[in-house]
Each structure stands twice: as C-alpha cells, then as structure tokens.
C-alpha cells in the first residue's frame, strides 16, 4: 500500500493496522500531530517546547492504550482526551497558570465567537483578536478549556463531553458560565478602553 491509501483510511482502520504493525502507527501520528500540538500549545499558553514533550508522551500513551479505544466514540475525541489529560497533568506538575499568550485567532473563529456570544458591538474591531485571546486566556481554567474546545478546536457538545469525561449537561452549564464570564470581561475591557 502506498501513502495515499493509508491517508484515505478511517481512524478506526488505522488503529487496527497499527495494532498489527507498529510502523503503521506513523499514519495516525501524522493525522493528529498538528491538531494536538496546537491544542496543547493553547492549553499550556504557548509553551511550545513543553508541547513537543507532551505530544510525544501523548502518542506513546495512545499507542499503549490502542486496545482500549472503543469505536462507539470518535477517535478524535479519544485522542484529544488523552492529550487533554496529559497536558493538565503537566500543568499541575509545574504548578503554573500562564495567562499571557496570543491565541492567533483567525477571522472565521472571531466571527463564530462574536455571533455565538452576541458581542458584535462590544469588541474593538482593531483589537478584536487580541482582546478575545487575552480574555480567553484569563478565564477560569474550566471555562477556558471548554471555550478552547468549542471555538478553537470546533468541537461540538458531545465531543467536548467525551474529551473532558463530563456529562453533556455539565458541559452545557460550563459553556454557559464561560460565555457569561467572557461577556463580563469584554464589557469590563470596553469600559476601560472608552
């Protein structure tokens, strides 16, 4: 089989192949490496060097636990869960909560946040990405995590529930609280600017 054939395979098929031949695990790594790294960097607020170490640990852990993957769950949710847990463990170990980091939010994401949170008039357009980024990073950890998953990783409620291993209702509550906290911060910033 050539590379293209492997690239066309589903996650589930790649898991089965990796279990048969470890070299084929590289295709799963390639598929998720960038996404997971971005997520880890966001969660750790820009610790790129640490993110590489965490990422390696994540893929080793995923390999060890390949047989525990249950196909009733999306593979991406399962692998994000492992990445999330490893990153949180790392952050607990270093006992630090950095807050200054630019999330590099693109226009599509900004629009999605603006529409969903109904804050079109509250955000200074020139500083929009910067403001949103700094506010997200200043949120309470639990709120920051759901906001990152929802708006930066484009995960739906079920996926967030599967990644965080929290009931969907709890995820909805956390998101609602996160949005409220976010709006409060936006209004506070607007007040300071004006």
């Amino acid at each position: 089989m050539d590379d293209q054939e492997f690239l066309n395979k589903t996650d589930q098929e790649l898991v089965s192949l990796a279990l048969q031949e470890k070299e084929l695990y590289v295709y799963l790594i390639r598929r998720y490496e960038d996404k997971l790294k971005r997520y880890i960097v966001r969660l750790t607020a820009g610790r790129t060097e640490d993110a590489n170490d965490i990422l390696q640990e994540v893929f080793i852990k995923v390999y060890k636990n390949l047989n525990s993957y249950n196909s009733s769950l999306k593979f991406s949710s399962w692998i994000y869960r492992i990445a999330h847990n490893e990153t949180i463990t790392f952050l607990r170990k270093i006992n630090r909560r950095p807050t200054t980091y630019n999330l590099e939010i693109d226009a599509v994401k900004i629009n999605s946040i603006k529409e969903d949170l109904n804050i079109e008039h509250e955000v200074d357009k020139k500083r929009m990405a910067e403001d949103i980024s700094s506010i997200i990073m200043s949120l309470d950890d639990r709120h920051k995590q759901v906001i990152l998953l929802r708006y930066m990783e484009d995960k739906d409620y079920k996926e967030i529930s599967d990644i965080l291993r929290k009931p969907p209702g709890t995820v909805a509550t956390l998101l609602r609280q996160a949005k409220e906290e976010f709006k409060k911060e936006i209004l506070k910033n607007k007040h300071i600017i004006s």
Binding site: I29, Q56, K64, N67, P167, G169
Partner: protein, 227 residues
C-alpha cells in the same frame, strides 16, 4: 520537525519495547469498576438499612424517664459508624461509576436520584428480610464493634441519665439484689420502690434493665425495671 517527532515516538516505542496493552486488560478494568460500583451500592443499602433498624430499635419512650436532654438523647441514637460507612459507600458509588467506560455521560443529578432510590429500596429490603438485624447481631460479637455501636448506642446503659443494664448475680430478695453490668462492675441494687409485676421474682442469671439513680459508689436505687 514533524518527521523528527514521528521518528522520536517510533524510536521510543521500539527502544522501550512498548506494546499495546491487551484488550482483556481494559475489559477486566471496566468489569472491576462495575463490580466495585455494585458492591458499594450494596454496602450503602446495608448501612442505610442498619441505620434505619437502629433508629427503630432505639427505645424512644425511655426519654421521659431519664434525666437527659432530648438533643443528647438523639445524639446517642446516631450510629456514627454506619453513617460513616454510608458516606464512604456513596463516595465509592460515584467514584467507580465515573470509572466505568460510559459512566461520565450520566448527569450527576440522575446518579444522585437513582442512587438514593436504589439505596432506600435495597436498605428497606435488607431491613425487611432481617439481614440488617443479623449483621448487627453478628458484628456485636466483635469487641470493637460492640464498643463503637452496640454499647455506645445503648440508651439503657447510661448511669449519668439513670439507666443500668446487667445480669442478676445475687438475688437475695426482690428489693435487694446484685447485678453485674457489661463492663463486669458489680452493683448493689436497692429496689424498695421498684414496682415489680406480680408473681415475678428476681432470680440469678436474669437479665434486667433498670431506671433510677446512683445513690453511692456501686449502689443503685431502682424505680423502674424492664426485662
């Protein structure tokens, strides 16, 4: 960079001879979570049932004869050991349910409600079929349990409130006899004002519960008795 990471991961897997854990390991892990979850539910049901049984078994009518305030009287009725067992079991119910593969999907409110319902039903069933009584009596053979629950929750064994329980060892007459209490202390009982039902004599070896007051060291003035 990307290729470097891929290679590092594969190298680490080869170097450390990492192999995926067997599927059976994960299935067993999930089964264990379920087994411990069910065991915790049963333990919670049993402890709930025993708490209910001990409350029912408590001699609430005794309060009006004793020199105790009602709050202290209620506090004596609380089976702290079983309450602790109940709390620990409830904690483990949540813990092990959360550890099951799909346990996290259930809302906490639903777990609380269904957990409480199952504990109440199971506790009632254990109480109704006599399991609670049997377990309580069987555990009373163990000295630490006797001290922590059986004796501690004995409203009939509080001298400061005026109750005394023991076995008659020297039945001179119905108005003067000696009893030995659970701790082995011997008490001279002055029962001149004790109303003993007609035709009933105090005999050696008889278990007796008395209400009255302490007169002097090891002498108890009894006003009421119960078998």
């Amino acid at each position: 960079m990307s290729q470097e990471i891929e290679q590092n991961i594969l190298k680490a897997i080869s170097r450390d001879k990492i192999i995926p854990a067997r599927k059976g390991y994960f299935i067993a892990k999930d089964y264990f979570s379920w087994i411990f979850f069910i065991a915790s539910v049963c333990m919670a049901g049993l402890s709930g049932g025993i708490i209910f049984f001990l409350f029912l078994d408590y001699d609430w009518r005794l309060y009006k004869y004793l020199d105790a305030n009602f709050f202290s009287f209620i506090l004596l009725a609380v089976p702290y050991l079983w309450l602790a067992v109940l709390f620990v079991s409830v904690f483990f119910i949540f813990y092990f349910f959360g550890k099951t593969e799909n346990g996290y999907k259930i809302e906490h409110g639903v777990i609380w409600l269904s957990g409480a319902s199952v504990i109440i039903l199971l506790g009632s069933w254990f109480w109704w079929n006599g399991t609670c009584q049997k377990v309580h009596q069987a555990l009373a053979e163990i000295s630490i349990y006797r001290v922590m629950v059986f004796d501690r929750n004995d409203e009939w064994n509080s001298l400061k409130w005026g109750s005394l329980t023991g076995t008659v060892i020297n039945a001179e007459s119905n108005v003067s006899f000696k009893i030995v209490d659970r701790e082995g202390s011997v008490w001279q009982i002055n029962a001149s004002s004790l109303a003993i039902p007609g035709g009933v004599n105090i005999v050696n070896g008889q278990k007796i519960r008395l209400i009255g007051r302490l007169k002097e060291a090891n002498t108890f003035l009894a006003d009421m008795s119960r078998p």
